[in-house]
Amino acid sequence: MHVMSFLERSRIVAPHGWSRWLVPPAALSIHLAIGQVYAWSVFKAPLEKDLGLSGSESALPFQLGVVMLGLSAAIIGTRVEKNGPRWAMFTSLVCFCTGLLVAALGAMTKQYWLVVLGYGGIGGIGLGIGYISPVSTLMKWFPDRPGLATGIAIMGFGGGALIASPWSTSMLKAFGVIYDGTRVVSVGDNAIAETFLVHGLVYAVFMALGVLLVRVPGPDWKPAGWTPAAQQTRALISTAQVSAKNAVKTPQFWCLWIVLVCNVTAGIGILEKAAPMIGDFFAGTSTPVAAVAAGGFVALLSLSNMLGRIVWSTTSDLVGRKNIYRLYLAGGALMYLTLSLVTNSSKPVFIACAIVILSFYGAGFATIPAYLRDLFGTFQVGAIHGRLLTAWSIAGVLGPLIINRVADSQRAAGFKGPDLYTTSLHVMIGLLVIGFIANELVRPVNPRFHEVAK
């Protein structure tokens, strides 16, 4: 009973004078933790060695996690809005960390289904709730800079992998996983289980900051010197409110859904195949790329993905959401076109194009909550965002599928070098053009969907 009351929205209304700059660290403590999912690949090789799994089997916890992220955000989003951010962050903490503990049990007892259920199933629910938990709160605290606010939080999700990747690797080594380069030679008794266990406990403590620190602004709070009327200088920025139930009935929601699918598919395709792609591109040239350098390329793309989230999302506050998506989609298509024309004649051009594509990929995630807020208001923006994230689940499967299938069929047909990827690059250009058209179709929401003021 006491726990439930501690989690209530009424308990976290900020007192007068509370600084809004305390809210981003609360959001970051959740997003930096759940962003660990992007570093799942660190566990793949040790699990394959220890439990005799194939590459596809060891990817299952991650894939289920991403699907559960989209589903839980869509299904539980309205409840997150109703119960408030502390309840959502606490629920995310419990699910995410319980998932890691169940995975530890699975690794200890060699029951792989428990790893999949724990990390992907239970942990995936924590991902979805955690991802949307701070979104509407941040936008209520930063009505003057919504792109900056959500950019900070969603950059944290990208940053989570930066922390987890080296941290998890060193922990696996400390508990007895022996590597030869990137290859796993042997796995000590319970090394993976102990790593999962420590992850679950440490992340619980880390996320607790968000649960304790998060506050919602009082009903009449607004930033000093800011007036809503001054904000509404662009046609697409509405001061009206739309419920999540009504938002999914609008063409604007589905236009943005298409934009997100196309933008994410285009980015995730290159992100997933980055290391083999740069190797294949320059294999027959005078400047081949070694495996170690390809690893550096992947890291560079991760950095670009993360920085794109904060830089472009913040820029969107100045130039407008529709304009910034024009840049992401048209600019991305132009970069893919350049890659397909320049092929392996210039390594700097290849790297520069990939950097820009990945910065737009990350930015697409970070800017979408502010776009939703412009169109639908802050009333249930977290729940609407949750429903939109189903686009991510689809793109997460679609992007790698396209680029892997095309590369495999081109290889079977005897192609090599950049020719392995030319068709994929053209598919990505097509997708980005579709996304661009969908963005052009976005208009202000019909007033019949607006909530009536009480």
Binding site: P25, I163, S165
Partner: protein
Amino acid sequence: MKHAPLMIVSWAWVGAPFAYGVVQLVRKVALLFT
């Protein structure tokens, strides 16, 4: 500034691991140019 100690602790709480991740990443990126 109000809540200054809380502000410092909370930003350090999230900033320290983030800085660790960025340093590790920059070291890895350097491999591309060696």
